[in-house]
């Protein structure tokens, strides 16, 4: 199984040709443009709970998705029926549908030719997705703890995609991803671990299992603490959640145009220790070399030394503002806007242990759970801690504590003067919205507000 995208490139070309052929027949006299994506996704997933595999899933799906514009009136279609007759029907329906609509004022035109360098973050063994290899990984995760109850998943995914536009742009790439994500549980507690890479062989499920088990065992004899404002050390998963919300709701040009974003480019909105990049060039990044509009996923500095520098753009918002696309278009993104698909906060020089060592009294948080934004402009959010929360006293982890609910503005939490340390443990972290999107380190923050404990 290799990264060859020839067949998909041909399929995308065929659909462009079909649109060129059917346009005059379905919408006589009109100018018909289109962006076409032909993709294949092969996903294998091994889920385990109560320390055994209970669901084992394989999926192989081909999809053609395209946006047609008839004299600037647009319609989008996605279909898994990719035989010629079905595609012809889908194209005719889409052109007829587009022709009936008002002009789309923000349609930027079919994507013109632009150089795209395939990332080729592709590993044939991962693409193969052998269920026995995934099961071996699960065995290692489970065995790492012995008598604890394990649950989680180990998955492999391969994506091949080709892009073609009526304006002559062509791009193709393939990528793979593998993730192990799981918990070990005692009767009263749980601990978690997460690893993601473009190569299955990079994952060490036994190491993850041992980490999760250690957190679970150290959390078992927890006590409840009174809610309030605490200094905190957040592990990468918790930081990843914060950064995801800031990026999706705020560092998003469409949200900014709508007036719903906190972002004020040029302003020092964050602590000087905060730098955020959309960085597909990082060797750990997963994903394709282009976005849903066929634009190259380029590196962009969103926040530099605490100063908001740029926003994520697709071609729609770029056209409205005179900016350049940052390659952040996502399928169906007309309403949502662009998303930094490879968000990265560079690591610092302090070990996680030294971050803890600097705290007189505070909390160490492994992950957040079920985080939701209460108010997008201020980034006021609520959620809970999960899978290992600990009290820090005099620079040492002194006691496990029960899960706490926080109500805190992420913007304030990372604001000027609030970041007291940046860990050297930056890695791909899971942040509630799926693996492979955020690379970040642990952080020590001056203040984080907890508004409730497990008992209310």
């Amino acid at each position: 199984m290799d990264h060859d995208t020839t067949a998909l490139a041909q399929l995308a070309d065929d659909v462009v040709a079909l649109i060129a052929e059917r346009g005059p027949a379905t919408a006589p006299g009109a100018t018909v443009e289109a962006n076409v994506r032909a993709s294949r996704s092969r996903h294998g997933l091994t889920r385990f709970a109560n320390s055994f595999i209970h669901q084992h899933v394989g999926e192989d799906t081909r999809t053609v998705a395209f946006t047609v514009a008839v004299d600037g009136r647009t319609a989008s279609t996605s279909t898994t029926r990719v035989d010629p007759a079905s595609l012809r029907e889908a194209v005719d329906t889409a052109i007829a549908s587009a022709a009936e609509q008002p002009v789309d004022p923000h349609w930027p035109g079919a994507t013109p030719p632009v150089e795209v360098t395939p990332r080729r973050a592709f590993d044939p063994a991962t693409a193969e997705g052998d269920p026995a290899r995934r099961a071996e990984g699960v065995r290692a995760f489970v065995d790492a703890a012995g008598d604890l109850a394990a649950a989680g998943y180990l998955d492999t995914e391969a994506s091949w995609e080709a892009f073609a536009s009526t304006a002559g742009h062509r791009a193709a790439d393939a990528s793979t991803r593998a993730t192990v994500d799981g918990i070990h549980q005692t009767a009263r507690s749980a601990g978690s671990a997460h690893e993601t890479s473009s190569r299955l062989a990079d994952l060490d499920a036994a190491r993850s299992g041992a980490r999760a088990a250690d957190l679970a065992r150290r959390s078992e004899d927890f006590v409840d603490v009174e809610p309030g404002a605490f200094e905190v050390v957040l592990a990468p998963e918790a930081v990843s959640t914060m950064l995801t919300f800031l990026a999706v709701y705020g560092l998003n040009a469409k949200a900014h145009l709508d007036g719903a974003s906190f972002a004020e480019p040029g302003q020092a909105q964050f602590d000087p220790a905060v730098t955020l990049l959309d960085d597909p060039t990082d060797p750990r990044a997963v994903g394709l070399g282009f976005d849903a509009e066929g634009s190259p996923r380029g590196g962009v500095t969103l926040v530099e030394g605490g100063v908001t520098r740029a926003l994520a753009h697709d071609r729609r918002t770029a056209g409205r503002t005179g900016a350049a696309t940052t390659g952040g278009a996502i399928p169906g993104g007309e309403a949502i806007g662009a998303v930094p698909l490879s968000l990265r906060m560079p690591g610092g020089s302090t070990s996680p242990a030294d971050l803890v060592a600097g705290v007189e009294r505070g909390l160490l948080v492994t992950t957040f759970n079920y985080v939701r934004v209460l108010e997008p402009k201020s980034q006021l959010a609520t959620g809970l801690t999960r899978n290992g929360t600990f009290l820090i006293e005099d620079g040492e982890v002194s006691q496990a504590v029960g899960n706490l609910r926080f109500t805190e503005s992420f913007l304030d939490a990372l604001g000027p003067g609030r970041v007291l340390g940046v860990g050297d443990d930056d890695r791909l972290a899971d942040g509630e919205f799926g693996p492979g999107m955020v690379t970040c380190p642990s952080l020590r923050l001056a203040r984080f507000t907890f508004t409730g404990g497990a008992s209310g």
């Binding site: 709970a49 084992h56 394989g58 799906t61 279609t77 889409a94 099961a135 109850a149 649950a151 609520t382």
Partner: protein, 480 residues
């Protein structure tokens, strides 16, 4: 399509599965959205393929293929499902068995009057464009959006036990919101509820909710909220309008009673439940007024169907009776393990996803009061409407909700609008404080079209009938 599914089942059995079933699914979706009087997007999706489930020992294997072109592809998917399940033997558990259900050959179709895909696009575009133009026309409204959404799903289900079931489901929904932007915050109002409301049925659903006629009020309230007083803080009486109560039911009851969560099958991501099976039949979930059912037969409700994705017929199951926990949401495997009757509550998000326990229409049976009566009998409280945010812990105990709008109630009257209303609580304590409940006239089958669960994430369509209710002494106004 039955033959295609049968080939998959036969191949799974030939490869060694003890049980197999297959679903051919063809799902068509359409979504229109507009912003500020301009059409934003029209999208059509077609997902079609076959998904095969094979049981070997303690594990399900599942394989899916989008190739409906020839039977050989279905057979390959069937064999792959079994071989994948066999690979699980490296990490085995207790063998799974399936609770008995009647084996049927049957068909079901959603009752609907107007096929939404036959309605002229021009008419549908006019609804969202006009509604957003009206809202955006009010000074102070920065962003006005509206959406229509439709799904037409055909399923052919075949099992190795002899099921052959064809279903045609039709779902229609709509939603709109106006956002007013202040210097430091935004305020939003939505209709009919936040994130859109969906029912089973045709375009008649859209006509009934009539977005354009509600647009002026929605816009005015969004602007008014910018200058409204902050929500008071403290332990006050909480009155919830029915769509917020629907989400309260969804999060603090619906997910908690999912048997796969109770058994630990979703522990890593979605979480578990504060409920444990030995407490079934005795645990006090709430006050005497609390009567919850899971009913997949309510006409028009979003989770109404003929059979679930295991071939179990739609049914009504008591979940909480007079405040006592008495039922769960289950599938054939989880029900057998727990020694319960299967509830017909297993569904998948398309052909390429493994079916899992899903809420049907989990709702609160109506009481005998009314919203106006509840307000009139409240000395000091806050009436909250329309969800804005939701968060609950992994055991479904500790929750915090934010609503779009509130009205402070004093001495039986709404005295002022309040902004950023929130409340928090612990599930059984909260439900024990339910003391007034509006009647059937105000009971509405709210539909939630965006319930996430599973790995990979599946989006489920669930229903939650509810009427306005009062909860005494709730912690209100959590601000951080």
């Amino acid at each position: 399509m039955f033959e295609h599914a049968s080939k998959a089942v036969e191949a799974a059995l030939a490869a060694g599965a003890t049980y197999a079933d297959a679903r051919v699914v063809i799902r068509r979706g359409e979504r229109l959205s507009a912003q500020n009087g301009e059409l934003e997007a029209v999208g059509n999706d077609l997902d079609a393929g076959v998904g095969v489930r094979a049981l070997v020992g303690s594990s399900w294997g599942f394989a899916a293929s989008s190739d409906l072109g020839d039977d050989a592809a279905a057979a390959r998917a069937g064999a792959e499902a079994t071989s994948t399940a066999k690979a699980s033997a490296l990490v085995p558990g207790r063998g799974l068995e399936l609770a008995d259900v009647a084996v049927v050959e049957d068909a079901y179709e959603t009752p609907h009057r107007e096929n939404p895909f036959d309605v002229a696009l021009e008419e549908k575009v006019a609804v969202v464009v006009d509604a957003t133009a009206t809202m955006a026309g009010l000074d102070g409204v920065a962003v006005a959006t509206a959406q229509l959404m439709f799904w037409d799903t055909e399923k052919w289900f075949v099992s190795s036990q002899g099921h052959r079931i064809h279903q045609h489901l039709v779902e229609s929904g709509c939603g709109m919101d106006a956002t007013a932007v202040g210097e430091h915050e935004t305020q939003r109002r939505s209709y009919p509820q936040s994130f859109g409301h969906v029912e089973t049925g045709g375009y008649e659903v859209i006509r009934r909710f009539d977005l354009p006629s509600h647009a002026p009020r929605v816009a005015e309230e969004a602007v008014q909220l910018l200058d409204a007083a902050p929500c008071p803080s403290g332990e006050l009486d909480l009155i919830l309008e029915s769509s917020q109560l629907a989400l309260q039911i969804h999060e603090s009851v619906g997910h908690a009673i999912e048997l796969d969560r109770i058994l630990g099958w979703e522990a890593a991501f979605a979480g578990t439940s504060f409920l444990s099976l030995p407490e079934l039949g005795s645990l006090r979930y709430g006050s005497e007024l609390m009567n919850i059912t899971a009913d997949a037969t309510i006409p028009g409700a979003l989770a109404t169907f003929g059979y679930d994705d295991e071939g179990t017929p739609a049914q009504r199951v008591d979940i909480v009776r007079d405040g006592t926990w008495v039922g769960v949401l289950s599938g054939r495997d989880s029900a057998h393990l727990a020694g319960l009757a299967p509830g017909g509550m297993v569904r998948a998000d398309g052909f390429n996803r493994m079916p899992m326990v899903r809420m049907t229409n989990v709702g609160l049976e109506p009481g005998e009061s009314s919203l106006e009566e509840i307000v009139a009998e409240t000395k000091h409280g806050v009436l909250m409407a329309t969800n804005r945010s939701w968060s609950i812990d992994d055991k479904r105990l500790n929750f915090q909700f934010g609503c779009e709008i509130g009205w402070e109630v004093r001495d039986g009257k709404r005295v002022r609008m309040v902004r950023n209303p929130t409340y928090t609580g612990i599930t059984p304590q909260f439900w024990s404080r339910l003391d007034m409940l509006a009647g059937r006239e105000e009971w509405h089958p709210w539909g939630v079209p965006n319930c996430g669960k599973g790995q990979p994430m599946q989006v489920g369509h669930t229903g939650h009938p509810a009427s306005p209710a009062r909860f005494r002494g709730v912690r209100i106004g959590v601000t951080g």
